[in-house]
């Protein structure tokens, strides 16, 4: 099965906070304003119910720092 993953390009990210508004509570801001997902780094798995919001975040990121990728996950046994 495939699932969506949100990739953060930290070299582009300026911590403007739009993605954390659209994808809270999945993404929160750290003390400097940069997005952070608990337990994840540059690639954040996006549950199905958040995919539409994630697409908005990709489109609205003022720095074009976000991208959605399909990742293959091994089928659960």
């Amino acid at each position: 099965m495939t699932r969506q993953s949100l990739h953060i390009d930290w070299t582009a990210c300026d911590g403007r906070g739009l993605c954390t508004e659209l994808l809270g509570p999945l993404l929160v801001r750290d003390e400097w304003g940069y997005p952070r997902a608990a337990g994840y780094g540059s690639d954040v798995p996006i549950p199905g119910s958040f995919v539409a919001d994630a697409r908005d975040a990709v489109a609205l990121c003022p720095r074009l720092a976000l991208s959605l990728q399909e990742v293959r996950t091994p089928a659960r046994s």
Binding site: H7, D9, W10, T11, C13, D30, E31, Y40, G41, S42
Partner: protein, 414 residues
């Protein structure tokens, strides 16, 4: 694997015995190289060499320790049919890590072995473009070596700048592509899309030198020294109070005490050893029996990596020494990624407040929190490695951390 071995034509020259392998030629010139090792077996099929590398258990010597055969096989698999999609192989001799000198020594004393390995890796992956990236002194040695032989004329040389992250794989690709050696964001692995979008192998020069030996003398010979999970030999750069960066070739899985003793460090007067360099971890002096293998170093949060050992004498405060390193690492950020630019200095300063003594009992937890905040949040692993180092400081010097919180130091103000 024995069936694969049988099909490999054995080298005409006797393999080096014991632990002196990479420098066995004794001199950097081609005649000495050929006299000791014989010519590189270019008749091997890719399948044969990959099989032999897999059986050898050779892993990367640049720090990450990824299985060499797997890296080469991945680039070979991703290769496209045209010159624009053919793989690229890059020998990485950049040593931004200040406590490492083994790649420089190797390129100056055995450049032909590295070139052999580079050309073999190119042949295995089907690469049509081959690069070598290192500091200027080493490049001069490589240039002399290339002039001595006809098969390495196509190797494109690049000078690496001397700072911590210049040898990170994506920074290497960026340096060759744009002239600026800074890590870049990667959505797919370099083995799939690297230099100019082509499948790219960035391999440490020591790894390539071992490839050249495995191709000649086989996996069984490679494994004839070392341990099961750390076979063969590896180069170590060992430093201590009275010892500045000595490079030795050691058997894999050597106990720390033996590696330190080999360069004349008095292991009875140590406080701790930093294993794996500034992105590595401290092993306290009570644990010097630990072997330089992935399995035995895992509990400490490090691995043999690039083979860097830094011994801290018993007269030094582990926390004070760590503050210096943490501040250095914070300053070495390429200043591209917000969490790294902001998080590393913050982490270093909380550690400094802890080391200054008498601070809030919450400081260790604040260090741990900041380590968690920066980990995984950068284009490269610089924040992760720095966080790992700082966390190991809290663990290895646990009792001294308590002492500092109580307002004294186990070492300097008992």
């Amino acid at each position: 694997m024995s069936t694969v071995e049988m099909t490999i034509p054995r080298a005409a020259v006797a393999p080096p015995m014991g632990v002196n392998r990479l420098f066995a030629a004794g001199a950097p010139d081609l005649a000495s190289h050929l006299a000791r090792f014989g010519p590189a077996p270019l008749g091997l099929t890719p399948g044969q060499l990959l099989g032999e590398l897999e059986a050898s258990g050779l892993d990367g010597r640049g720090g990450a320790g990824f299985a060499t055969w797997r890296k080469l096989a991945a680039a070979r698999t991703s290769a496209g049919p045209t010159a624009y999609s053919a793989p690229v192989v890059i020998a990485n001799g950049a040593e931004g890590e200040p406590m490492s000198a083994k790649d420089e020594i190797l390129l100056r004393h055995a450049p032909h072995l590295v070139l052999d390995g580079l050309l073999l890796a190119a042949a295995v992956t089907g690469a049509r473009e081959v690069h070598l990236y290192s500091g200027p002194v080493q490049l001069a040695s490589v240039r002399r070596a290339i002039a001595e032989r006809s098969d390495a004329r196509g190797v494109i040389l690049h000078e690496a700048p001397d700072y911590f992250v210049s040898g990170e794989a994506s920074a290497v690709v960026s340096a060759i592509e744009t002239g600026v050696a800074i890590p870049r964001d990667r959505r797919v692995r370099l083995a799939v899309s690297g230099l100019g979008g082509r499948p790219t192998v960035v391999s440490n020069v020591e790894t390539l030198a071992h490839v050249a030996l495995v191709a000649r003398f086989g996996a069984a010979w490679f494994r004839s020294v070392g341990t099961d999970d750390s076979p063969g030999t590896r180069l170590l750069t060992v430093s201590g109070d009275a010892v500045d960066r000595k490079v030795i070739e050691a058997t894999g899985g050597l106990p720390l005490a033996e590696a330190l003793g080999a360069v004349g460090i008095d292991t009875s007067r140590l406080r701790a050893v930093l294993v794996g360099g500034y992105h590595g971890a401290w092993v306290p002096a009570s644990d010097l029996w630990v072997r330089l293998s992935n399995r035995e170093l895992e509990p400490y949060g490090t691995r043999p990596g690039a083979g860097i050992l830094v011994a801290l004498g018993e007269q030094h405060c582990g926390l004070a020494a760590s503050v210096g390193i943490a501040r250095y690492l914070a300053a070495q950020s390429a200043r591209q990624c917000g969490p790294c630019v902001n998080g590393l200095p913050a982490m270093a300063e909380v550690l400094a407040r802890l080391a200054a003594g008498g601070g809030s009992a919450r400081l260790p937890d604040e260090v741990r929190r900041l380590a968690a905040v920066v980990t995984g949040r950068g284009a490269c692993r610089h924040p992760d490695g720095t966080a790992r180092f700082v966390l190991s400081t809290l663990e290895a010097f646990e009792s001294d951390v308590r002492a500092h919180l109580a307002g004294y130091c186990e070492v300097t103000h008992p």
